[in-house]
C-alpha cells in the first residue's frame, strides 16, 4: 500500500544528516516551506549546502536556519533582498560560502539534475565573470557555456494540495522552483495545506506527479514570512 503521508514535520525531516545538500523551494516568501525549515532547525543538522533562489528575510525560515549556523554554503541567484540581513553579515565575515548562479541557469541545473542530464549548454552568462573557468562550445556560430545538473539529498517544498500518492498542485507564484526541486531531491519532503485520497485530484491538473515525492505532511495554515518578519518574530 502506498501512503506517503507522515504525521509531523519533525518526523518528515528526522533523517536529514550533517553535510547534506538540501534544496528548499520558494522565491522570496512565495512557496517557502517555513514549517519544514523550522523543523530542520529543531532537528539540528549542520554543515548543510542549501539551494534556494534567495537567502530568506528577517530571522525566520531560511534566514533563521542560516543564522543558527547550520548552513556552510548557499547556492542561489539573489542573496540580498528586502529585510535580508543574516546572510550578508555572515558572507562579509567569511563565515558562509556562496555559489552565485543566474536564476534561469539555477532552475535548469535543478531540472537537469532531476531529469538525469549531467550537464547542458546555455548562452546565459557568456562573456561575464560568472562564465569564468567554465567550458565553452560553439553551436551554429554562437558561444555557449557548459553548466552542470544539480541534485540534492533532500528537497523541502510547500504546496496547496497533495494526495497520499504524492501528486501535488501549487498556489499561484508559490510554484516557482518546487517542481524541478521535487525531481532533483533523493528524498523529497512536501508540506501541504490539505491532503486528499487518490482519485480526488483531477489527473489533468496534477503539476508534480507523485513519483517525485517521498513524504507528505499536512500543515493546514502555513505561516507567511512577511507576516512573521513584520511582527518581529525570531526563530526559534
Amino acid at each position: 500500500m502506498i501512503n506517503k503521508e507522515v504525521p509531523s514535520v519533525a518526523e518528515a525531516v528526522a533523517d536529514i544528516f550533517d553535510g547534506a545538500t538540501v534544496m528548499i523551494g520558494g522565491f522570496g516568501e512565495a512557496g517557502s516551506p517555513i514549517e519544514l525549515i523550522h523543523a530542520l532547525i529543531d532537528q539540528g543538522a549542520s554543515g548543510l549546502t542549501v539551494v534556494n533562489n534567495n537567502t530568506g528575510s528577517g530571522e525566520v525560515g531560511l534566514a533563521a536556519l542560516i543564522k543558527a549556523g547550520r548552513v556552510s554554503k548557499m547556492i542561489c541567484s539573489y542573496p540580498r533582498s528586502m529585510n535580508s540581513t543574516v546572510f550578508p553579515e555572515l558572507y562579509r565575515s567569511g563565515k558562509i560560502e556562496l555559489e552565485l548562479v543566474p536564476q534561469g541557469t539555477l532552475a535548469e541545473r535543478i531540472r537537469a539534475g532531476g531529469a538525469g542530464i549531467p550537464a547542458f549548454y546555455t548562452a546565459t552568462a557568456v562573456g561575464t565573470m560568472l562564465a569564468d573557468g567554465k567550458e565553452t562550445r560553439e553551436f551554429d556560430g554562437k558561444t555557449y557555456i557548459m553548466e552542470r545538473g544539480l541534485k540534492a539529498d533532500f528537497t523541502l517544498i510547500k504546496c496547496r494540495q497533495a494526495d497520499t500518492y504524492g501528486n501535488l498542485i501549487f498556489n499561484k507564484t508559490a510554484r516557482n522552483f518546487a517542481p524541478p526541486m521535487a525531481m532533483a531531491g533523493t528524498v523529497t519532503i512536501v508540506q501541504t495545506e490539505s491532503v486528499v485520497a487518490p482519485g480526488e485530484m483531477d489527473p489533468e491538473i496534477v503539476v508534480t506527479p507523485g513519483i517525485f515525492v517521498n513524504r507528505v505532511v499536512q500543515v493546514q495554515n502555513p505561516q507567511h514570512e512577511s507576516v512573521l518578519v513584520a511582527s518581529g518574530v525570531s526563530y526559534p
Binding site: F27, V101, Q103, T124, T173
Partner: protein, 224 residues
C-alpha cells in the same frame, strides 16, 4: 518640486511613457525593477501587452488594492501583484524556457552602464563589500529578442552611464538595442551610439557632452 522644475529632460514617468510608445501591440514583455515597472501605466490606446514576471506568471496585472494582496502572488521584485483574466502560472524552468528560448519579444531593464558596443552592466558594482546578486538579468539579456534599457543619462554624481567600455562587471556583451534616458532615445548600432530623438528642450551638444562615447547624429533618410 523646485529641483524638478529646474531639471532638463524627462521625468521617470515620462521616460516610461516614451518607452511604451515603442512597444508593438501584442508584445510579450518582461519589465525590470524601477522605472521599467512604470511602463504598465502608459500602454498606448489600442495596444495590448502581456507582462511576464520570471517567478512564474504570464499576464501580470497591477498592484492589488490596499489589503487585498496575497503573499504568494508576487513579481520578480517580490512585490504583491495581480493576475489578469487569461493569465497563467508556471514553474521556473518553463519561465526561463520562455526567456532563453526566444519566446519573449522584449525586456526593459535598468542599467549601471551601457557601452557603445551594446555591453550592459546592471547587476554589480564589483565593490569589495558588495553582496553579488544577479537574479534573472543574465538570462534575460541572453535570450529575449529585444533589450531596451531605461535609465537616467548620468549617475547622481553626474558621471555618464553611456560609456565606451563598462567598468562594472557585465550582465551580457553586446546585448542592448536601445536606450531611453531623461535626455534622449539612443540606438546601439554597429557604429556605436546613434541619436534617435532628443527630449523636449534638449540639444544634441548637451547630450553629447554627457555621453562617455561618441554620439552619432540622427540618421537622415537618404534622398530618393
Amino acid at each position: 518640486m523646485s529641483a524638478n522644475d529646474a531639471k532638463i529632460g524627462l521625468s521617470r514617468e515620462e521616460m516610461a511613457q516614451r518607452v511604451a510608445m515603442d512597444i508593438p501591440d501584442g508584445s510579450y514583455v518582461n519589465l525590470g525593477i524601477g522605472i521599467p515597472e512604470l511602463i504598465t501605466r502608459f500602454v498606448p490606446e489600442g495596444r495590448e501587452f502581456i507582462y511576464h514576471t520570471e517567478n512564474g506568471l504570464l499576464g501580470m496585472g497591477p498592484s492589488p488594492a490596499e489589503g487585498e494582496g496575497e503573499p504568494e502572488l508576487i513579481n520578480a521584485g517580490k512585490r504583491q501583484v495581480t493576475a489578469i483574466p487569461g493569465a497563467s502560472y508556471f514553474q521556473h524552468p518553463d519561465s526561463f524556457a520562455m526567456i532563453r528560448g526566444g519566446h519573449l519579444d522584449l525586456c526593459v531593464l535598468g542599467a549601471l552602464q551601457v557601452a557603445n558596443n551594446g555591453d550592459l552592466a546592471n547587476w554589480s558594482t564589483g565593490g569589495p563589500d558588495a553582496i553579488p546578486a544577479v537574479g534573472g538579468a543574465m538570462d534575460l539579456v541572453a535570450g529575449v529578442k529585444s533589450v531596451f534599457v531605461v535609465t537616467q543619462h548620468c549617475t547622481k554624481h553626474g558621471d555618464p552611464k553611456l560609456v565606451d567600455a563598462c567598468t562594472y562587471p557585465l550582465t551580457g556583451p553586446g546585448v542592448v538595442d536601445r536606450i531611453y534616458t531623461d535626455l534622449a532615445v539612443i540606438a546601439v548600432t554597429d557604429e556605436g551610439f546613434q541619436l534617435v530623438e532628443l527630449s523636449p528642450g534638449v540639444t544634441f551638444d548637451y547630450v553629447a557632452e554627457r555621453t562617455g562615447a561618441p554620439l552619432l547624429p540622427i540618421a537622415t533618410p537618404t534622398a530618393s
